[in-house]
Symmetry: C2
Subunit: 368 residues, 2 copies
């Protein structure tokens, strides 16, 4: 598997808000080789806290990519056959321009002067990258959670550029509950005095607020069942309750650890901007109905959801499927049985691999 | 309906932790009249953020009690027939001794020097109150959520004093997920610099941390469906996105408001202590099985859960029912259809009223 990591700089990007961002850097990695016809390109789209490092071992962190069990030689996205591109989203903090980037007008990080961005803006930044590769059509656009939103946006906003789409554990628009969980995370960050109106670069970051936000996130990514299996009521390093406010339960220890570690790899302002983009996302905007919104789409679809995912429940995937079917689109849908909740698309990938492999192979074979 | 509100002071209370609390004040209200035989007493047990004001209009706040739609003349707990007692829990902040009470040894509020308490401790404080009323046996002990835990504890720990028990939307022990949500709330409070190790009385309370904790709570009390119905994706006072971090959606406005208001009626340290008591609660402690733990119980049981309650899911109520049935106990169980999630026991009470009324009447008629 050939891995390339790089950053491309574009002059400017017009945003849905009306603002213009200039310049825009996009960090990406690729795996496998682009064929001569440039017909084997897969665009993998990361979820909220992901980055461009989708597969292989990072030189920087020594860690596998977020979808390493799906991308690689012989894997679902077989890098012996396909050329996989993954870029960090606009507004992110892992190489692509975001609130922690330096605003060339001031020489200081944007902070909260960074413009509010949308899923559509993220996808337009990705399209510049795909254009830069001179790839006419993507064999597939795919991702879980927020990655699935981007895949849907690609299929509608840039329909001629997309042969197929695989949105996983995703939705066409956030529900009130999904917005609510994001809002709690934002409020936790903004309640931290160290957040300081977003102006904390070079100072102490809002680590406590970001940790609380991340803890809420982790609960929503797992299922009641998977938390029961992983932690139950087991105590952490003790046989009896502490009768104090130290860690008693394993699950407390896990959440505190994951919360406190998150600040090392994620920027609190990116948390605000990216969750806002998710909440704003509504594929039906202005069209009134999902079937109408999906009108421009020309892609084949494989839609996947997971039985225990209560954050992005199956009914949200089924809404996509019903709307596509009502337009007689080529769409397959599978609800996979899994205990892992929303995290299933990242961890419970055996059946997902079979589905994706077959769908991709048949899509590739049908190319003119 | 006769309403009485008062506070009783007891010399001391021995706690599960081994500590002793002295003195202990218990704030209570009563509704209806105790009959001559003292056989018509109902003990209503409040949930996490409740208080002794269960019914009628508060002289202090002008607000109805937390179970006003269940307690009153002709209501489920008919105050023309029954004498209803409700007291604020130990560790609370609405009249009963808790971390905001003055420690007589120091003349200052306890703060974090208040001993960690358990559901068993809360129930022992209630038992002192029932003894003070010279009530031999309670016709029923009842409550939703943490109130249901107390009802179960009563039925097991003071089996001779309980004729019947009605635990609603409750559990015999918190799951990892339930502990996790409580831990997030605690961490949000303790992350607020104004919390100051619990020493904030007379100073600025940790309002921002407490608000974030309350916001998380509110999400878990509602269902995906009820949030969809109540808020959907409606914008708050605007037709377009703000492209800023102000309130965009109704649901954000609701959560921010409820969070910010909570600090006016609830003490952040009580939040810590009461959630800890809930997390520690495990009716099976030391006995190994729920059926064995329920062995001492002599009460009739009516167990109620709600179809859309994902915080205290029906399977937790069904565990109680299975264990009681395995001992051939008198137990009725109903899962009520409701869209309101965990809040159902407070708001969607038509069917609950019928169930409780019939169960209470037959229990009362069977008294020797």
């Amino acid at each position: 598997m050939i891995v390339a990591a790089n950053t491309v700089r574009f002059d400017s990007l017009s945003l849905d808000s009306g603002a213009t961002l200039a310049p825009v850097e996009v960090a990406y990695e690729t795996y496998g080789e682009l064929n001569a016809a440039k017909s084997n390109a897969v665009l993998a789209l990361h979820a909220f806290s992901g980055d461009a490092h989708a597969a292989g071992i990072s030189h920087e962190t020594g860690k596998p990519g977020w979808w390493d069990n799906m991308i690689g030689p012989g894997k679902a996205f077989d890098t012996n056959r396909y050329f996989v591109i993954c870029s960090n989203v606009l507004g992110g903090c892992r190489g692509t321009t975001g609130p922690s980037s330096v605003d060339p007008r001031t020489g200081c990080p944007y902070g909260m002067s960074f413009p509010v961005i949308t899923i559509g803006d993220m996808v337009r930044a990705q399209k510049m990258l795909v254009d830069w590769f001179a790839i006419e059509r993507l064999l597939t656009v795919t991702g879980g959670s927020m990655g699935g939103m981007q895949a849907l946006e690609w299929a509608v906003a840039h329909a001629d550029r997309v042969v197929s789409a695989i949105p996983i554990a995703s939705t066409t628009r956030h529900s009130a509950q999904q917005i609510a969980f994001n809002e709690v995370g934002r409020q936790a960050i903004m309640a931290d005095p160290d957040w300081n109106g977003g102006d904390y670069y070079g100072k102490r970051p809002p680590a406590r607020g970001l940790a609380v936000a991340r803890m809420v996130g982790h609960i929503t990514y797992m299922s009641d069942d998977s938390m029961h299996e992983k932690f139950g009521r087991r105590l952490r390093g003790k046989e009896n309750f502490s009768y104090a406010f130290d860690v008693d339960f394993e699950v407390e220890s896990y959440l505190r650890y994951r919360g406190s570690q998150f600040v090392n790899r994620f920027d609190a302002n990116s948390y605000l901007y990216i969750t806002k983009a998710m909440d704003y996302f509504d594929l039906t905007n202005g069209s009134g109905s999902l079937a109408a919104a999906l009108e421009p789409a020309k892609a084949r679809f494989l839609v996947i959801s997971f039985s225990s995912d209560w954050l992005y429940p199956s009914y949200q995937s089924q809404e996509i499927v019903r709307a596509l079917r009502s337009r007689n689109c080529d769409v397959a849908y599978v609800e996979l049985e899994s205990n892992y909740g929303h995290d299933s698309f990242l961890v419970d990938v055996a059946e997902q691999t079979n589905l994706v492999r077959g769908f991709l192979a048949s899509t590739f074979e049908k190319l003119p």
